[in-house]
């Protein structure tokens, strides 16, 4: 297991971007031609350098919203802007990390991280940064390894480095830790926070894990399904680094669970 704590980049911090989502509506048609409203008039402003979580049960449209911000999907109504420029398609300014690392299996770790620079034709000028970013995620000994030789956590670190090497203004994370075991997951949460603090990139983090959302975010956008919409926006006013066992953490946790109607009911004679 690799533990990389405290690696910082020599590369200057990012120019982080602001995202504004205005009246976005997205409707999917199923095979019978029936409409499903995946997103219903969503409005959202995200400040530069902010770490925001989209939290909700499956079907609430959080991944759809992220895909629209990434430019991989188009809204049926409404607009999305990055720093006042409308988003029309995918762009390297908006990096993306999926739940499945989706590493290019025919490329080594170094080849994967270098992919963005190569695709943009700037590998020659910026080639040194490839090893810098591999070091940032603590995989300097695995530069020549192929993806199938990596553990799940290591693969997700490579996916992070691959997105970060492009110096994105916004990093979009679609349940990036969803496939990891609970302990690797907590370790990776700290890793992502360390990178966020080091790089200052705006991050939008899709998750269905309430604890993860509270532990990581400045703000939590709680979404509910059918139709997918923003139910509530919660500011997490807890100092960093956060403690998962602080009473205020639990308070916030129960508040979110109540919003989502998953808190359960406290009956009389609760203790048996």
């Amino acid at each position: 297991m690799v533990t990389a704590v405290g690696n910082t980049l020599k590369v200057a911090p990012e120019q982080s971007g602001a995202i504004s989502v205005n009246g976005v509506r997205r409707i999917f048609l199923n095979t019978q031609g029936e409409e499903t409203v995946a997103l219903d008039r969503v409005n959202l402003e995200i400040q530069p350098g902010e770490l925001v979580s989209l939290l909700g049960p499956s079907g609430c449209g959080k991944s759809t919203l992220l895909r629209i911000i990434a430019g991989l999907d188009r809204p049926d109504e409404g607009t999305i802007c990055l720093d006042d420029t409308p988003i029309t398609g995918p762009h390297h300014e908006r990096g993306l990390v999926f739940q499945d690392p989706t590493l290019f299996s025919w490329l080594t770790v170094r080849g994967n991280v270098a992919f963005g620079l190569k695709a943009r034709g700037i590998l020659k000028e910026k080639g040194d940064e490839v090893d810098e970013f591999i070091r940032l995620v603590g995989l300097e000994k695995f530069g020549n390894a192929y993806p199938h030789q990596l553990s799940g956590g290591m693969a997700q670190r490579v996916a992070l480095a691959r997105a970060l090497v492009n110096h994105p203004k916004v990093l979009l994370l679609d349940e990036p830790l969803g496939a990891l075991d609970a302990f690797t997951r907590m370790q990776m949460q700290d890793e992502i926070l360390r990178i966020w603090e080091d790089r200052g990139t705006t991050m939008i983090f899709v998750t269905h894990d309430v604890d993860e959302a509270i532990y990581m975010s400045d703000r939590i956008i709680v979404m509910t399904p059918r139709p997918g919409k923003i139910q509530e926006v919660i500011e997490v006013r807890l100092a960093r680094p956060r403690a998962r066992n602080h009473p205020d953490f639990f308070m916030l946790r129960s508040k979110i669970l109540e919003i989502l109607h998953f808190a359960g009911e406290i009956t009389e004679n609760y203790y048996l």
Partner: protein, 343 residues
């Protein structure tokens, strides 16, 4: 020796359950040596049969075969002796010795049923001595033919594979190309390339061009099909990630789609190679006035079947060499699969 045996028997009280399959004592140590000696024994038997058993097929007996067997025997003795000294040769010999011995035994059987006992009729079933004689007598013509065949094969294969890669990629990538090309492919592809021989001879100015085009056609079909389906089945997530990393369409095709589809593409290249061998030999037998296919039908006309066998032997060497080369290339290109699939 006695102390060793004693040591082993006391040791076996504790250690025996761990290796129940290894026989104890002298038999266990002698077995590997016996295996290494197998080819020596087989070569000696082959030579003995050749020299001692009287010939039934007395027509044109060739003495070179006995000389060859002597060389083979000497080489086997040498290898066996070296394997006792060299640490690396030992395991290699132990692995390959049974196969070499079996090969020599087959040769002996062949010798017996043809030259020695005359069980099979001449000229159709000559003995190994006559095939060797054909090889040494006619090697110049055989190798010239092999050169012409290889030239035709390489030309046809490269053009066909390239064309297949291009049409396959277009079909796998774009719906419109798929719409227009796939009926053409479905119509033309299944026609065996050899069926085109009469037309190809008319259409192309030289028989070389005609045959090369037929080989290319035979390669084109499987390469197109496998490349097309390989590219169409690449995970969409690869393209989505690549696009968010700044990849344009050309980059997506050449750096994502084709590398991701290569395991499937390789199957097409391999199938195309098999088809190209077939078309090559048939085309040479019918139309082209050079090459190994032509050689076979030429010597068949003179009822020199020993030369047919000699040519088959050379064809086997060359074609398995070409297949080996293709697999070497695959191993190089698909090195990332090592450990991922059964190699």
């Amino acid at each position: 020796m006695a102390s060793e045996v004693a040591q082993q028997s006391t040791g076996s009280v504790f250690a025996a359950p761990a290796h129940p399959a290894v026989p104890a004592g002298w038999a266990g140590r002698l077995r590997p040596l016996l295996i290494k000696l197998l080819p020596v024994a087989a070569a000696a038997a082959a030579l003995g049969v050749q020299l001692a058993v009287p010939n039934q097929q007395t027509f044109a007996v060739n003495e070179q075969y006995a000389t060859l067997l002597k060389v083979v025997l000497a080489l086997n003795v040498l290898f066996c002796a070296l394997s006792l000294v060299s640490g690396r040769l030992g395991p290699w010999l132990k692995d390959n010795a049974p196969l070499a011995a079996a090969g020599l035994a087959l040769l002996t059987v062949w010798d017996l049923i043809t030259l020695k006992f005359g069980l099979l009729p001449l000229p159709y079933f000559p003995g190994p001595d006559k095939v060797l004689a054909a090889l040494t007598e006619d090697w110049k013509l055989i190798f010239t033919s092999a050169f012409y065949s290889l030239r035709l094969l390489v030309t046809g294969y490269l053009f066909g594979a390239l064309a297949g890669l291009i049409t396959g990629t277009l079909m796998g990538w774009s719906r419109r190309w798929h719409y227009w090309v796939s009926p053409v492919m479905k119509g033309i592809g299944p026609i065996p390339a050899t069926a085109w021989i009469p037309l190809a001879m008319v259409i192309f100015p030289t028989s070389f061009q005609a045959s090369a085009s037929l080989v290319a056609l035979a390669v084109w079909f499987p390469v197109t099909v496998m490349t097309g389906s390989g590219i169409a089945n690449v995970r969409n997530a690869f393209f989505e990630v690549a696009r968010t990393l700044g990849a344009g369409e050309r980059f997506l095709i050449f750096r994502v789609a084709i590398p991701a589809a290569f395991p499937t593409i390789f199957v097409g290249l391999f199938m195309g190679l098999g088809a190209s061998f077939l078309v090559l030999i048939v085309a040479e037998m019918i139309g082209v006035k050079a090459g190994l296919g032509w050689y076979i039908s030429w010597v068949q006309g003179w009822a020199e079947y020993s030369k047919v066998y000699a040519c088959l032997f050379v064809i086997s060497l060359i074609f398995s060499g070409v297949i080996g080369l293709l697999f070497k290339i695959r191993d190089r290109v698909l090195v990332w699969q090592k450990g991922l699939i059964k190699w």
